[in-house]
């Protein structure tokens, strides 16, 4: 009786965790095609509190599971706010995890987390230590002080930080010092009077000064290019093109999913004109991703949804379709043999547009007939032509033709379903995993067996522990350097 009971408990725990990690992989609290952002925020917040209350250690370890930035930030904040509930034996691991995860966040997100600590009134010894260490580890703190000035000021006030003289003066009394020794502070001071000095500042800061000086937009964009990050270049490309000017952009430097979304933002004619260029850029980006997290796959087929619902929402424009396109390139680069099956048959993947109904059954059948070793389905889980067509095909295939699971079939879902705290699955027969960026596909394939239910809680715990060691080991090396 007891054994059965504990087995059931571990079953429930496993399901809870899989649900939570899946949500953390896909949900960003933004509006989706089928649901709004308010419901999303409430739903994901509840899920976080539930897991934090019941499985604190595993909740912290989720930080290492390759989840998206939004959820990483949420976990860091919630852990810091409830530090007293940590068991003494886990205290050190939790602290290390938080520090490592915070270090890995992109700077704008990390600063937002630090500012949020003040807004939520979190103030304990550990949170102060985490903030102090984060600032200490920034090599270009003066640059960040210029770019995130108000946030750094808030963080410094809240944590009573002792700052060096020039930095403190820059944040709190900028006119106190007549000429700064630090180069970038000096440029910032000069920018108010000097038109030339603004071009040494980060783009977002320089924009404000440019407006004050009344500098023409095209002249400004032309000269500030040196200071732009790759993301900013990508974002401003279109605006610049409207004014008939070039922003030199090395497409090969872009992260894969961002690049795919950029490609989809171009009109079909533009994509057609620059076909080879874009194709090579996507391919390079895919290979770069693979260098970081290698995958070696055999015969791979993808079933990619390009129906109307992949157009996403006003906040996540064409994101599901972008992920499908990025996954297409990534798996093509990783596989020995590769074929893609779109719901609306495409001649060129680059020209894909979100249009029409979702007919998943036909491409799934095509993929099965081709005889792939691995089939990756990227879809939001809604299918309507016919309803449950692909689900039934997969069920029949699993039960009758392939009961030993020789063909691996994984469903990657970029959309979080608010109402059920779940990802919309096609069928219980195949695992459904959340997917926010195509770059996460290697993690996804590793995680899929837990979503399927064949692996138990202990395996999941071991998997998470291994990822934790990986993360902490990596970060140790980084600080050692």
């Amino acid at each position: 009786m007891d054994a059965q009971w504990s087995q059931q408990v571990s079953q429930i725990e496993r399901q809870d965790l899989v649900m939570f990690i899946n949500a953390c992989l896909s949900c960003t609290g933004q509006r989706e095609f089928y649901s709004d952002n308010y419901g999303k925020g409430v739903s994901i917040d509840f899920l976080h509190d539930y897991i934090l209350g019941n499985y604190r250690l595993l909740y912290a370890r989720t930080l290492a599971a390759g989840i998206n930035h939004f959820n990483r930030a949420q976990i860091i904040l919630k852990l810091l706010a409830t530090g007293r509930n940590t068991l003494p034996q886990h205290r050190q691991e939790e602290g290390a995890l938080i520090a490592a995860a915070l270090n890995q966040l992109p700077p704008q997100r990390a600063w937002k987390v630090l500012a949020e600590i003040r807004r939520r009134g979190i103030n304990n010894r550990r949170s102060r230590a985490i903030v102090r260490d984060y600032l200490r580890s920034r090599r270009d703190l003066s640059f960040q002080a210029v770019k995130y000035r108000s946030k750094l000021r808030a963080v410094a006030i809240h944590n009573h930080l002792k700052l060096e003289t020039e930095l403190a003066a820059f944040l709190f009394e900028p006119t106190k010092i007549k000429a700064y020794q630090t180069e970038i502070f000096e440029y910032f001071r000069k920018a108010k009077y000097d038109r030339e000095a603004i071009y040494a500042l980060p783009l977002t800061i320089a924009e404000g000064f440019a407006a004050q000086h009344g500098i023409k937009r095209e002249i400004f964009l032309d000269r500030i290019q040196e200071q732009m990050t790759p993301g900013e270049k990508l974002r401003l490309q279109k605006a610049a093109n409207r004014e008939k000017q070039e922003i030199s952009l090395d497409l090969g430097q872009m992260p894969l999913t961002k690049l795919a979304l950029y490609v989809l933002s171009l009109s079909r004619a533009e994509r057609g004109d620059r076909m080879t260029l874009l194709d090579t850029a996507l391919d390079t980006a895919a290979r770069k991703t693979l260098q970081r997290s290698p995958m070696h796959l055999g015969r791979v087929a993808t079933v990619l949804d390009c129906s109307y619902s992949t157009s996403g929402s006003s906040e996540k424009r064409r994101r599901p379709l972008g992920i499908a396109l990025a996954a297409h390139y990534l798996l093509k680069a990783a596989a020995q043999e590769y074929r893609a099956f779109w719901t609306v048959p495409q001649t060129e993947a680059l020209l894909v547009t979100p249009r029409g109904q979702t007919d998943l059954a036909t491409p799934v059948l095509d993929a099965l007939e081709w005889g792939a070793d691995l089939i990756v389905i990227i879809s939001d889980g809604w299918e309507n032509d016919p309803p449950k067509g692909a689900a039934q095909v997969l069920e029949v295939y699993r039960q009758k033709f392939d009961p030993t699971r020789k063909t691996v079939i994984v469903h990657g879902n970029p959309v979080f379903d608010t109402d059920n705290f779940l990802l919309r699955a096609l069928t219980p027969e195949i695992p459904t995993v959340g997917l926010r960026d195509a770059e996460d596909l290697p993690t996804l394939l590793g995680f899929a067996r837990f979503a399927e239910g064949s692996a138990g809680l202990s395996e999941l715990e071991a998997y998470l522990a291994a990822r934790v060691r990986e993360l902490l080991g990596e970060s140790d090396q980084e600080t050692g350097r």
Partner: protein
């Protein structure tokens, strides 16, 4: 001059294929596909901004002898013939349509006729309002013989004005979301709208480009009380699944065949759910003949206890439906028109009508009162009827 179109006797979806339905909340939307759309017939939407539309049904626009008052958010412009294909969307200048009066608090648009020719080959008509006007006007002439039961007002002025309360598509819970997330097929020309699996409306246009442009107008159409209440009450339709017969499938090609069968079965099924509209006898009335096409409005043969629809359609010379829009009457509306039609059938004689309906004269009088037509009868007729009924019970 081409010969006139035959009047519709039955709706049939000839030349139109039904695709699997898409469900969102309690709304089931069934796409209708056409593989060979006509190129010589186009529909275009014309937006009206005014709070009230007044359509002169008879007589001059400024001195209407009979007028139709309603909120009319949009009209449709039909163009046919060779030049219809050349007129791309948004490039045509909109003709002046009636007259707008601005009262400060509200604007009113005066229009002439439900369907009005605008040029050699274009016609403006008001969708659904065309059918609704026919419905309201039908059997509404009043008694031709001065039977003594009728009130003075009914005899001297006819039945007066008649109104119906309707709900716009925006008020139907979930319809807006369902239309937003609906994934339109490449060659889709129409849609069957089910709310909690009750057929609310059927909508067909000549070709797919027109459909994409008119998809959202379903939200501006009106729906009956029943549909509004169903929208509030149900947030899921009946669970319906068609399953593959797994036992018979041995190979992948067999599986593929089974899926194709599944798809066609799914298609047929909503067609079966719409049989109350598609297989019914119709009373049709011709409104306009546009070249080889005929515009007509219709009402299904009335079933007092069943599902009844009114609507309008454009029929090509081969008898295929090019345009269709229907409205499902609510139960109260059906009761009202049924009573009026029965009275008209028996020359407004209460005695004979009551006998034919298997009731007493008093019961019929009270029934008329309940349906909202009490003002037709003299006060004493109703009072006597009430008294008699009380006595009978006592």
């Amino acid at each position: 001059m081409s010969r006139k179109q035959p009047l519709l006797e039955k709706l049939s979806l000839r030349g139109i294929e039904i695709a699997p339905s898409q469900v969102y909340g309690g709304i089931r939307l069934v796409p209708l596909l056409r593989s060979h759309p006509r190129q010589d017939l186009r529909l275009q939407r014309r937006q009206y901004q005014e709070e009230l539309g007044i359509v002169a049904v008879e007589g001059e626009m400024n001195h209407p002898e009979m007028a139709y008052f309603s909120y009319i958010p949009h009209g449709l412009v039909l163009s046919w013939g060779e030049s219809a294909t050349e007129a791309a969307f948004g490039t045509q200048l909109q003709g002046r349509d009636g007259k707008v009066l601005d009262y400060g608090c509200a604007k009113v648009r005066l229009m002439h006729r439900m369907a009005k020719r605008e040029s050699r080959n274009s016609l403006r008509f008001l969708p659904l309002h065309l059918a609704m006007e026919g419905f309201l006007g039908m059997f509404f002439s009043g008694p031709a013989i001065a039977w003594q039961e009728y009130s003075h007002q009914a005899l001297s002025q006819g039945l007066g004005s008649r109104g119906e309360l309707l709900y716009s598509g925006g008020a139907v819970e979930g319809l807006e979301d369902a239309l937003r997330v609906f994934e339109i097929h490449e060659n889709q020309v129409g849609m069957l709208v089910f709310v909690a699996d009750a057929l609310a409306s059927a909508f067909i246009v000549p070709n797919p480009q027109d459909y994409r442009a008119l998809h959202r107008t379903l939200l501006e159409d009106f729906y009956g009380e029943l549909i509004y209440q169903y929208g509030l009450l149900y947030d899921t339709p009946f669970p319906m699944d068609v399953t593959l017969e797994a036992d018979k499938i041995q190979t992948l090609p067999e599986l593929r065949k089974a899926v194709a069968e599944l798809r066609s079965q799914w298609g047929k099924f909503p067609g079966f759910m719409a049989t109350n509209l598609l297989q019914r006898e119709l009373n049709s009335q011709r409104v306009y003949t546009a070249g080889p096409f005929g515009l007509q409005r219709f009402i299904t043969e009335l079933e007092p206890k069943g599902e009844n629809h009114i609507g309008e359609a454009i029929i090509s010379e081969t008898g295929e439906i090019q345009y269709l829009k229907t409205y499902r009457l609510s139960a109260a509306q059906t009761r009202r028109v049924y009573l009026l039609s029965q009275l008209a059938k028996y020359d407004w004689n209460l005695e004979i009508t009551a006998r034919e309906l298997g009731q007493t004269r008093d019961e019929l009088a009270l029934r008329l009162d309940k349906a909202g037509f009490g003002y037709l009868l003299k006060q004493n007729v109703l009072e006597v009827a009430r008294k008699n009924l009380k006595k009978g019970r006592g």
